[in-house]
Amino acid sequence: MSQLIRNVKDFWTGVIYIAFGFVAIIISRDYGMGTAVKMGPAYFPTILSVLLILIGVISLVRSFIKQGSPVGAFAFKGLILITISIILFGFIVRGAGLIIALPVLVIVSSYASSRFRWQYSLLLAAGLTVFCILIFQKALGVPLPILGSWFGQ
């Protein structure tokens, strides 16, 4: 398999484009196609999806023909921790409020760095939380929950 694919980047790009295209086409089937004069909601998306699949197929075919460079290592630690920290933030921001959600975001995400130190991370979390509350809540007047609903606010 790996010998067959000469360009891994082209291969996966093709796969992703084809996948997106197919999903879009299948979903679009539920909408009206209409005619060129009176286009239904499915008309333009269907054209685009077909185009995307076509590009995906070309990329896929090319991946077996033309030599390419390898993808390179993924930063899995960063990828996972950053994503988790953002999702966690979204999960608790309304319930716990910024005063807890922001430190969680900062500490979990900064653990992704190889230079992570607890004491600095805590300090950074405290500083950024105060700064954010001052800027967004006080200066700009954006209504954000400082203390969330879990605390009976």
Binding site: T35, G90, L105, V106, S113, L124, F136
Partner: protein, 499 residues
């Protein structure tokens, strides 16, 4: 003279204390964030957009424009001081700028960049003032077919100018258009691709996409290898160029401004193409061409003037046609729509104070850049070396709070994380996010114009080729794509981006 009256109106709008303050704040914040490692103009503007939403429209746009050229100047500063271009347009500045810094002439290089940018900014502002009204008048005659073809041209140009594989870039544009269609269909009200999620009924927020693809994905990529600020920051001694330096920078600044202004107006371009072209041309025509790459002052003056001129003239299609020519302008369009302004040729006539206020504020912003940046250079130098492990949690915090504050929904936060992941995967696969963001904003517009055009022609697609302006625009786009895929040009393009 109408022009003088218009500029007078602009000054009256831009010189109010509030707007002056926001202009100053924009330039300051833009530079501050622009000099930070790993943050280009697109990410900077996406991050700061939520801050401007509470302001009145004129102030918000003045501030955003300030952020844009501030962050661009910040990018040039890092190019010169530490050999790290903050963004694509200042890549060429590293060639001679950093060499000058190594020779202890960092201060002179920075002054050259500032003077060149200011001059270019002044000329470009005048150009906008001169050409905006005629352009808008022409645009008012445009029918849906012309607008459709213009969008196609813009997208094709963005594809040609993106780095990496041409094929991947085309795919990114199509994918962007498709993602732009998520939400309610304007004509029929049908919910498309919403998966029954009510938060998607109004479509995916462009700030969410921009923050995810440019902010979050960039953080993950930077975490692959954390550099210390290993490149030592050169000491800045004299800021003042010598008499000889002044003499040598005049012609390159003039040429750079001309090239940058002309190329900036082109769709899909903005400041990048101008900077590259100005450097290449200067290298050929300059008496000191042989010194290029070893710290020639011309190699800083020309591209720096060009990229600032291009940054400003790229406002022309955005303000007069309502068609963004690069991702930054796409974000500007998005900001205008959120502020309740429908971008397009009618903005000049319907909201003259807003339009001329923005134009004049650009010149004031450039003035701020030069009087702010040179004295404050000590601060910027220190910002260049902020360790990344302190910086990225701060970016995350700003993105998180900003995106949540937009619609007050957690869903946007999750979506941002998703686009971050997607963006990182695409970066790894050599698929550039910039054309996608542009297409994402243009998707609904493109569909709307296509619908209207085909309604007029009773479904005959030949309308796009029968109308002369539309046909010319399409032909130009095809020409660009064909030229870029020819083996001869293809090699040139690869070389240009490698440099």
């Amino acid at each position: 003279m109408e022009l003088i009256a218009n500029i007078g109106l602009g000054f009256a709008t831009a010189l109010t204390p509030v707007n002056l303050l926001y202009c100053l704040a924009g330039v300051f914040l833009g530079t501050l964030i622009g000099v930070l490692p790993g943050l280009g103009p697109t990410a900077t503007i996406a991050m700061l957009l939520p801050v401007t939403f509470t302001l009145p429209p004129v102030s918000a746009l003045i501030m955003l424009a300030g952020i844009y050229y501030g962050s661009q100047y910040g990018g040039s500063t890092t190019s010169i001081l530490v050999n790290v271009p903050g963004e694509a347009a200042s890549v060429v500045t590293t060639l001679d700028g950093y060499q000058m810094a190594l020779q202890g002439r960092a201060g002179v290089a920075l002054t050259t960049a500032a003077v060149g940018s200011f001059f270019a900014g002044t000329v470009a502002t005048l150009l906008i003032a001169l050409f905006a009204s005629p352009m808008a008048a022409i645009a008012l005659k445009f029918g849906p077919a012309e607008f459709f073809s213009l969008i196609v041209l813009g997208l094709l140009a963005a594809i040609v100018l993106s780095r990496g594989s041409l094929l991947h870039a085309i795919g990114m544009v199509v994918l962007g258009l498709l993602l732009g269609l998520v939400g309610a269909d304007v004509n029929t009200g049908a919910q498309r691709f919403t998966f029954g999620v009510p938060q998607l009924a109004d479509g995916i927020g462009f700030v969410v996409v921009a923050m995810g693809m440019f902010g979050i994905a960039e953080i993950i990529r930077n975490l692959e290898q954390e550099d210390n600020c290993a490149a030592m920051v050169s000491k800045i001694t004299g800021l003042m160029p010598t008499r000889e330096d002044w003499k040598r920078m005049v012609a390159p600044i003039l040429r750079g401004t001309a090239i940058g202004s002309a190329l900036g107006i082109l769709p899909g371009s903005g400041s990048i193409l101008g900077a590259f072209a100005a450097y290449a041309i200067e290298k050929k025509v300059s008496k000191h061409g042989k010194e290029f790459g070893t710290g020639a002052i011309e190699g800083v003056a020309a591209p720096e003037s060009a990229n600032n001129a291009g940054a400003q003239t790229s406002f022309i299609p955005m303000l007069t046609l309502g068609i963004p020519s690069n991702p930054v302008m796409a974000l500007m369009i998005g900001a205008m729509i959120i502020q309740g302004i429908q971008p397009g040729p009618s903005v000049i006539t319907e909201q003259p104070a807003l339009f001329w206020g923005i134009v004049v504020s650009m010149w004031i912003g450039n003035l701020f850049l030069i009087i702010l940046n040179l004295p404050l250079i000590g601060i910027w130098v220190r910002m260049v070396c902020v360790p990344y492990h302190y910086l990225f949690p701060a970016i995350l915090v700003f993105c998180g709070v900003g995106v949540f504050s937009l619609n007050n929904t957690e869903f946007d936060i999750y979506l941002m994380a998703l686009f971050g992941l997607l963006g990182y995967v695409f970066v790894k696969l050599d698929c550039e996010p910039a054309p996608m963001l542009l297409a994402f904003i243009l998707g609904p517009l493109m569909e709307e114009y296509m619908r209207r055009a085909l309604l007029l022609s009773r479904g005959d697609p030949m309308i796009f080729l029968e109308r002369p302006i539309s046909a010319t625009l399409l032909a130009l786009g095809m020409l660009a794509i064909v030229a870029a895929s020819l083996p001869m040009f293809y090699k040139k393009r690869e070389e240009a981006f490698r440099e």
